[in-house]
C-alpha cells in the first residue's frame, strides 16, 4: 500500500441499490487493473436505515473505511444521507454528485420533524466539498428505480472517476437483474453530464 487509494463513497437508504452500485464500480475497477476494497455498513439496510459503502481503489486490500477528509468522490443517492457522509468524510479534494430525491424518515413521515430544506443541504455540502453537483431531477418510475445507475452515468460523464467508461458499461452489461434499465439510466446520466454545472460556492 504505497500510493494513497482512490476513495469513493456511495450513500443512500436501504433499497436504493447501494450495494449493487458498489459491485458494478468495483468490477469495472478490476477490469482497469485496480484491486478494490469494498467496506459496507450492514445490518439495517432492509429496515429503512442509511446505507454507506466505502469503495477504495488501490493495488492491494486497504483498510475498509475511508479516513476522515480523504474522500475523493461522493455519490449521494439521497440528499440527507449525502450530507451525513460529507460531514464525516468530505475534505478538500471531495467531488460530490448528489440526488435531490428526498426519502422521508419515520419522523418526517409522521410530520414530527421537518425534513431539512434542500437548499440548506446543498449549501452545507458546498461548504464541505471541493465541488458539488446536484443531479438533475428524474421523474419516470424506471429512472427513479435506477437512480444509482443514472448517478454513476453523471459521475462518469463528468470524468471524475479513474475508472473507464467502457469498463463500467461492461460491468453493467453483466448484471443479472434489470440490466436494460440500468444501462438506459447510465446512458442518460452520461448524456446529462454534458450540461451539468457545479453549484457555485
Amino acid at each position: 500500500m504505497n500510493a494513497e487509494p482512490y476513495n469513493i463513497m456511495i450513500t443512500g437508504v436501504g433499497g436504493q441499490g447501494n450495494l449493487v452500485t458498489s459491485g458494478v464500480l468495483a468490477r469495472a475497477a478490476i477490469l482497469d487493473g485496480f484491486s478494490p476494497t469494498i467496506g459496507q455498513t450492514f445490518g439495517a439496510s432492509q429496515r429503512g436505515g442509511a446505507v454507506v459503502t466505502h469503495l477504495r481503489l488501490a493495488d492491494e486490500q486497504t483498510a475498509p473505511l475511508i479516513p476522515r477528509g480523504h474522500l475523493d468522490t461522493l455519490i449521494g443517492l439521497e440528499p440527507l444521507e449525502g450530507l451525513r457522509a460529507a460531514v464525516d468524510f468530505a475534505g478538500p479534494r471531495t467531488i460530490a454528485v448528489v440526488s435531490d430525491l428526498r426519502i422521508d424518515t419515520l419522523d418526517t413521515l409522521a410530520g414530527d420533524i421537518r425534513y431539512p430544506d434542500l437548499r440548506d443541504i446543498f449549501a452545507a455540502l458546498s461548504d464541505l466539498c471541493k465541488t458539488v453537483y446536484m443531479a438533475p431531477a428524474v421523474e419516470d418510475k424506471i429512472m427513479i428505480s435506477s437512480l444509482n445507475a443514472y448517478l454513476v452515468g453523471l459521475v462518469v460523464g463528468l470524468k471524475i472517476l479513474p475508472i473507464s467508461q467502457d469498463s463500467i458499461r461492461r460491468s453493467y452489461e453483466t448484471l443479472e437483474r434489470h440490466t436494460e434499465n440500468n444501462l438506459r439510466a447510465f446512458a442518460s446520466g452520461l448524456e446529462d453530464a454534458s450540461n451539468l454545472r457545479p453549484l457555485s460556492k
Binding site: 468495483a26 429496515r47 483498510a63 440527507l80 460531514v87 419515520l106 421537518r114 443541504i121 464541505l128
Partner: protein, 643 residues
C-alpha cells in the same frame, strides 16, 4: 442483512464450481466470509454446521449454495451449541468439520467447547470460526470472543485480510488434525463484510475416510485435571510452531526503531494506513495473526531492544495483556506498553485509521490536524442532520403485536411488563418502549418465568414475554418448560413468521422446506407442555390480538398466544400478492386530520405519511402491502378498503 453478492470473476459471471479445477490462481472479489467459505472448500471440509447471526451468516450460507457441487454437508443447526457438537462428532468420525457462528453464539456453545477441548477432536479436524461485532452493529453487545480461546486453551488465529482469511483455513485444519483439538479462527465485522481481491487456490477433492470406531476416551472423567495438564503441553508445542509461523507480519530486523506498533487481525490494515498518514519515522509494525498461545520466542526476538510498544486490537486488550504477562517472566523486556490500559487506544467501540493515526500523533507529541474553518462547516452541517431511525417494514405484523400490547397495557393501567428477545421484533424496544428488556436469545421467557413468581412478594404487574419462531427453537424451550413446571404467571407470545427473518430468511425446524428436512410443529411443542391457555391469532387482525392478549394475560398460570405472523420482505421476494387485494384508502370525509393523527403518529406504519400542508394522513401507495391492519387502528372508520 443478507450478503447478496455471489462469487464472481472479473467479468461478473458466476463461478462454475463444477469447473473448480480451473480456478486455481484466479483472482476474485470476495467478502471475508466468502473467503473463509472458499478456504473450507480448499481445505476439503466435508461437514459444516452453523446458526445464522450477523456478521457470520454468509460463511455457512455460501457453503450451502455450493453444497451441490462440493458434496459438503451443510446445516443450519437449531443453535450454536448443537452446531458445535454436531461438527465435533463429524470430526471424531474422520470428517473435516467446520462450525461458524457469531460472537454471542459462542456463549451458547461454550459449555461444550470447554469440554471437547479436553476430550479432543478426531482425525477430521475441527475448526471453529467466530465473527465478533465490535461496536455491536448487529449485536446486543460487543464482546471479545478471544477470551474463549484462552479459557478453552485452544489455538486462536486472527487473519488480517480476505486473502489470509481464505488461506488460513487449510492451515487451521492441519493444526487441528495434528494436535487433536479445536482451532478457533476469529473474524470481526469489518473482515467478514469487507470485499477484496482473493487469489484462489485449488479446491480439495472430498476424500473422507470414515473412522468406524470413534477415538478412545471421548470423556474427561475421572481425571479432567490430567486432561488439562496434557492440553497445556499441546499449547506449549503450538506456541513454538507459531514462533516460526508464516502468518505473522514481521518488522524488518535491526535498525534504530524504539517504537513497535503491535496489531491483531484487521487492525493491521488500520495501522498500515495510519503509519503512512502520520509519516511516523522509525516505527515498526508487528502484525500478529497467531494470537494465542502467544508465540513467546518470536515476541522476545521482535521486541528485543525496543523501548515502547503500542497495541492496536479490537475490542479488549487481549494481545496487550499476553505481552504484559510475558514481560514479567523469561528474558526481561524493558518496554513501556501503550494501548487500552493507559488510554492511548480506545477500549470500546470499533477502531479505524483515524483513531490509530491520532494515537500515533499523541504518542509522538505531534499536533492533531484540525482545520478550524472545516470544523465550523461540519458543525453547521451537523445541525441540519436529522436521524433516520430503524422501524418495522410496511405491513409488518410485529408492529400490530406491539400496538395491541400498548392497548392492553392501557387497559391494565400500565401494570404490564413485557420481557423481550432477539430478532426483528427486538425493534419493539424503540416502538413506544413496548418491550422492556432484551438480553440473550431465550432470555425473554427465562426472565418472565422469574417475574411470574413474584406476586407472592407483592409484584403487581402482569407479565408477558415475546419471542420469534427461530428463537423459540434456539433457546426458549428450557425457559418454557421451567415456566410450566414452576407454574409461573406468564403470557408467552410467539411471533411465528416461519423463517429466520433478521438474518435473511434461513430455514429453521419450524419452517417449510422442500429439501428433505422434517418440519417440527411449533404449536405441538407448545401443546406438549400443556399451557393453561393457548390460542393462535392472525397477526393482521389487531382486534383479535388485543382480545387474545388481554383475556389471557389477566389469567393465572402459563398462557401462550401464537401469532400467525407475516414477513413482508420475504413475501415480496417470493411472490408479491398485494395486487390481489383491494387497495387500502383513507376516506377524507371521515378522517379527523390534525385532531387525531393516531394512524401516522402512533401506529406509525411507513405506508402512512402526514401531509403537513393539508394536515391529513395519506397512504403511500408504493409502500402499502394492502394488509389492511391499519383499518382497525382508525377510531373513526376513515381507513377502509377501496370499493
Amino acid at each position: 442483512m443478507i450478503l447478496e453478492s455471489v462469487l464472481r470473476d472479473v467479468h461478473g459471471k458466476n463461478i462454475e464450481l463444477k469447473d473448480m479445477d480451473y480456478q486455481a490462481g484466479q483472482r476474485v472479489l470476495m467478502s471475508g466470509n466468502e473467503a473463509i467459505a472458499r478456504g473450507a472448500v480448499e481445505a476439503g471440509v466435508g461437514f459444516c454446521s452453523s446458526y445464522p447471526g450477523t456478521p457470520a451468516t454468509e460463511i455457512a450460507s455460501t457453503l450451502m449454495k455450493w453444497a451441490r457441487d462440493t458434496g459438503m454437508y451443510v446445516e443450519w443447526s437449531t443453535n450454536e451449541k448443537v452446531a458445535l457438537e454436531a461438527a465435533a462428532a463429524a470430526s471424531w468420525a474422520g470428517v473435516p468439520a467446520m462450525c461458524s457462528m457469531k460472537s454471542l453464539g459462542l456463549n451458547v456453545a461454550a459449555d461444550f467447547l470447554l469440554n471437547v477441548n479436553l476430550s479432543g477432536t478426531g482425525t477430521g479436524g475441527l475448526v471453529l470460526v467466530v465473527c465478533d461485532d465490535p461496536r455491536g452493529h448487529s449485536s446486543s453487545n460487543e464482546q471479545d470472543s478471544r477470551f474463549y480461546a484462552k479459557a478453552a486453551k485452544i489455538p486462536l488465529l486472527e487473519p488480517a485480510t480476505a486473502q489470509q482469511a481464505k488461506d488460513i483455513i487449510p492451515y487451521a485444519f492441519s493444526l487441528s488434525k495434528r494436535m487433536g483439538i479445536p482451532v478457533m479462527v476469529r473474524s470481526t465485522t469489518r473482515l467478514s463484510h469487507t470485499q477484496a481481491m482473493v487469489s484462489l487456490g485449488a479446491p480439495s477433492e472430498l476424500q473422507i475416510t470414515i473412522e468406524e470406531t470413534l477415538p478412545r476416551h471421548l470423556f474427561n472423567v475421572p481425571d479432567p485435571h490430567l486432561r488439562n495438564r496434557d492440553l497445556q503441553e499441546k499449547l506449549r508445542r503450538i506456541a513454538r510452531e507459531f514462533a516460526t509461523s508464516q502468518w505473522n507480519l514481521l518488522p524488518p530486523d535491526g535498525g534504530d526503531s524504539p517504537l513497535t506498533v503491535v496489531s491483531s487481525g484487521i487492525s493491521q490494515l488500520y495501522v498500515r494506513e495510519a503509519l503512512r498518514e502520520v509519516d511516523a519515522q522509525k516505527v515498526r509494525h508487528f502484525g500478529v495473526v497467531t494470537t494465542f498461545p502467544l508465540p513467546s520466542e518470536l515476541v522476545e526476538r521482535v521486541m528485543a531492544d525496543n523501548k515502547e510498544a503500542l497495541f492496536v486490537e479490537e475490542v479488549d486488550p487481549f494481545l496487550e495483556d499476553e505481552f504484559r504477562i510475558q514481560a514479567t517472566y523469561g528474558t526481561p523486556m524493558d518496554i513501556v506498553f501503550h494501548g487500552k490500559h493507559d488510554g492511548f487506544v480506545p477500549s470500546w467501540g470499533e477502531l479505524n485509521t483515524d483513531i490509530i493515526a491520532q494515537s500515533l500523533r499523541r504518542l509522538r507529541g505531534m499536533p492533531s490536524e484540525i482545520d478550524g474553518e472545516r470544523e465550523r462547516a461540519r458543525e453547521h452541517a451537523s445541525s441540519l442532520l436529522i436521524p433516520r431511525p430503524l422501524t418495522f417494514c410496511a405491513g409488518c405484523t410485529h408492529r400490530n403485536v406491539y400496538w395491541a400490547l400498548r392497548k392492553v397495557r392501557k387497559r391494565l393501567d400500565g401494570n404490564l411488563v413485557v420481557t423481550g428477545d432477539i430478532g426483528c421484533y427486538s425493534l419493539g424496544v424503540f416502538y413506544d418502549q413496548a418491550m422492556d428488556t432484551m438480553q440473550a436469545m431465550g432470555s425473554g421467557i427465562g426472565t418472565a418465568s422469574g417475574l411470574g413468581q413474584l406476586s407472592r412478594f407483592g409484584h403487581k404487574a402482569r407479565v408477558a414475554t415475546i419471542a420469534g419462531d427461530s428463537t423459540f427453537f434456539h433457546a426458549c424451550l428450557p425457559g418454557l418448560v421451567n415456566a410450566r413446571h414452576t407454574n409461573a404467571d406468564v403470557l408467552f407470545i410467539i411471533v411465528d413468521n416461519k423463517t429466520t427473518a433478521m438474518t435473511g430468511f434461513q430455514p429453521h425446524p419450524g419452517s417449510d422446506d422442500d429439501e428433505g428436512h422434517r418440519l417440527v410443529s411449533l404449536r405441538k411443542m407448545v401443546e406438549a407442555v400443556e399451557p393453561d391457555m393457548l390460542s393462535v391469532v392472525d397477526g393482521d387482525d389487531i382486534p383479535a390480538l388485543i382480545e387474545a392478549f388481554h383475556t389471557s394475560v389477566k389469567e393465572r398460570g402459563l398462557k401462550v398466544v401464537i401469532v400467525d405472523s407475516h414477513c413482508r420482505l420475504r413475501e415480496g421476494r417470493l411472490e408479491d400478492k398485494s395486487d390481489l387485494l383491494q387497495r387500502v384508502v383513507i376516506d377524507e370525509d371521515m378522517c379527523r386530520g390534525e385532531k387525531c393523527g393516531i394512524c401516522v403518529k402512533q401506529y406509525s406504519c411507513v405506508a402512512l405519511a402526514w401531509d403537513s400542508e393539508r394536515e391529513r394522513p395519506v397512504m403511500v401507495e408504493d409502500q402499502c402491502v394492502r394488509c389492511g391492519a391499519c383499518i382497525d387502528v382508525c377510531p373513526y372508520g376513515a381507513i377502509r378498503r377501496a370499493r
